[in-house]
Amino acid sequence: MICQNVSRLLVAYLDGEATAEECFEIEAHLAICAPCRSELAGTIEVQRKFRNAVEAMAKSASASPKAWNAIRRAVESDSWAGRIGLLRPLLDKAASRLRGMVSGRPAWKLGMGSILAVAGVVALAAAISWVASDAPTAVAAQIAQDDPQVREALGSDSQPLVLVAEVVEGTGNVLVRGSTSSLIMVMASVDLNLRQVTRVERLEPLSMPQLTDAERLQVARIAHEAPDLRNPAIEGAHFGKAFIPFAAQGKTSIEANVGLTPSSNIAALEVRKGERTWLVYLDLDRETVEKVLELQCWLPPFHPSLKPS
C-alpha cells in the first residue's frame, strides 16, 4: 500500500471504522513507514484537540431561567386549555345554531363571549337536565350513548361518555367522547321522533392545522412583551393554549364576528387569571397583539359525572 492510500484511511482506522482488510494493510505499512507513523500521531492529536475544545465549549452552556419559563407555559397550555381546544368544532356548530336561537339580535353582534356564554349554558343545562329526567336532551344523550355506530366510531374498547347535548327542532346533537381517549370525539345527530341516531360524525380536532413549537414560543414571547397585556387586570395571568384561529384558515369564523380581519398570520392565545379568561389574537409577522377579548363564561370542564346515570 502506498503512503497516499494509507493517509486516506488513517482517520477511519483510528475510529475503528476501517475494514479488517484495510486494517491489515495499514498496520503492515505503518511498521515500515516513519512519515505515516508521524501522520498517525498528528491525526490523533487533532482528534484530541477537537474533542477537548468542544467539551470545554459545551461545558460553558447552561440554560437560562427564561428557557424553563417558556417550556412551562407551553406545557401548562396543554393541560387546561388543550381540552377547550378540542371543543372548538362544537363551538363552531353552537355558534351557527345560536344565530337562529337568539331573537332580536343578529349573531354577528353577539361577540365571542356571548356565544361561548350561551354555549356554556347549553352544556350546563344539558348536564343538569338529563341526569334524572326524561327531558329531550337526556333522551338524546341516552340514545347516542347506546348507539352501536357511535361506539364503533369511538373504538370498540371505549365506553361512550356524553359531554354535551342540545335539542333543536326535534333533533338532538350529542357530543360524545370515548372513555379511553379524550382525543377522539363523535357528534351524533338523534331523531327524537324515530328515537334513533341518524348521523354519526367523527371529529378529528387533532387534524386541524397546528402551530409549530417555534411559533408557539413566538406567541408566548410576543404576549409576554406586549404592553396590551400589562394592564393590572391581566398582568400575571397564565398563558394557555396557542392555536391557529378559524380566522386564519379562511373559514367563516366566530372570530370574524368580533371584527378580526382574516389573515394567514394570526395566532390566538388563551389567557386565564382566576376566574377570568381572555382570548388574545396576535399577528406573527408584525409581532403585535391585534385584539384582546375577555370571555364572559367558559365551558365546564370535562367530567365523567356528566355521564347519564
Binding site: 477511519a12 475510529d15 471504522e17 487533532v46 474533542r51 460553558s60 417558556a70 396543554d78 393541560s79 379511553t180
Partner: protein, 201 residues
C-alpha cells in the same frame, strides 16, 4: 419496565399526561432539571450559540412532555432517547436554516458568548483563553458540513453509520468528510505553530 433509577413519578406522570387525563408539572420540572444539562450541551455543541441551543432545548422538552407516553425504558434509554431527539432537532434546524444567524457568520465571529453571564457555570468563566481560541480557530476553518460531522463523531461519539443516518449522507461521504476536516485542522494547527515560532524568534 421502568427501573428504580428513573424518576418513576416523572415518567408515570408524563405518561398519564400523554393521554390528557391529568398531569404533574412538578415531576416534569424534576426531569427537566435533571436532564437539561445533557440537552443544552449537545445543542450548544451542534448549534454553536446559546440562543439557538436554547430554542432547541425548549422544543426538545416540549416534545418530551408530549411524547412521554410513547417512551418505555430506564434511565439509560431515556438519556439515549433525549440525546437522539436533541441531535435530530439540531440537524433539522440546520437543514431548514432555523438558526438565528447563518453558520458562516458564526464561523467568522467565533462562538457567541452567552448574553447572560449568570447562565455560565463558574468553572466555564475560567475557561482557558487558549481553549477558547482553539474553538474559534476550529470554527473559522471548518464549514458547517465538516464541523457537524466532527462534533457528531468526536464529541457525541456516533458511529459512521449513525452519522450517515443523521446527516442523510452515505457512509463513504462521512469517511471523506472526517478525513478532509482533520486535514484542514492539521494544516491550520501547523500554520499556527509556524507563526508562533516566527513570533517567538
Amino acid at each position: 419496565m421502568i427501573n428504580s433509577h428513573v424518576h418513576p413519578s416523572l415518567v408515570q406522570a408524563l405518561r398519564v399526561n400523554a393521554v390528557n387525563e391529568r398531569q404533574d408539572p412538578a415531576a416534569f420540572e424534576v426531569v427537566y432539571n435533571r436532564h437539561k444539562g445533557l440537552v443544552m450541551k449537545t445543542a450548544f455543541a451542534l448549534m454553536g450559540n446559546i440562543h439557538d441551543a436554547e430554542d432547541v432545548l425548549q422544543e426538545v422538552f416540549i416534545n418530551v412532555y408530549r411524547s412521554a407516553g410513547k417512551f418505555a425504558g430506564g434511565e439509560t434509554e431515556f438519556k439515549a432517547w433525549l440525546r437522539r431527539i436533541t441531535i435530530n432537532k439540531c440537524l433539522s434546524n440546520h437543514r431548514h436554516k432555523r438558526t438565528s444567524r447563518s453558520f458562516d457568520q458564526l464561523r467568522d465571529e467565533g462562538f457567541e458568548p452567552p448574553e447572560d453571564e449568570s447562565s455560565l457555570q463558574p468553572e466555564a468563566k475560567c475557561m482557558a483563553e487558549e481553549e477558547r481560541q482553539d474553538i474559534q480557530r476550529m470554527l473559522q476553518c471548518l464549514d458547517r458540513r465538516h464541523y457537524l460531522a466532527m462534533v457528531l463523531r468526536y464529541y457525541l461519539e456516533l458511529s459512521y453509520e449513525e452519522i450517515a443516518e443523521a446527516l442523510q449522507i452515505p457512509v463513504g461521504t462521512v469517511r471523506s468528510r472526517l478525513h478532509n476536516a482533520i486535514g484542514i485542522l492539521r494544516r491550520e494547527f501547523r500554520a499556527r505553530e509556524e507563526t508562533d515560532r516566527e513570533v517567538r524568534s
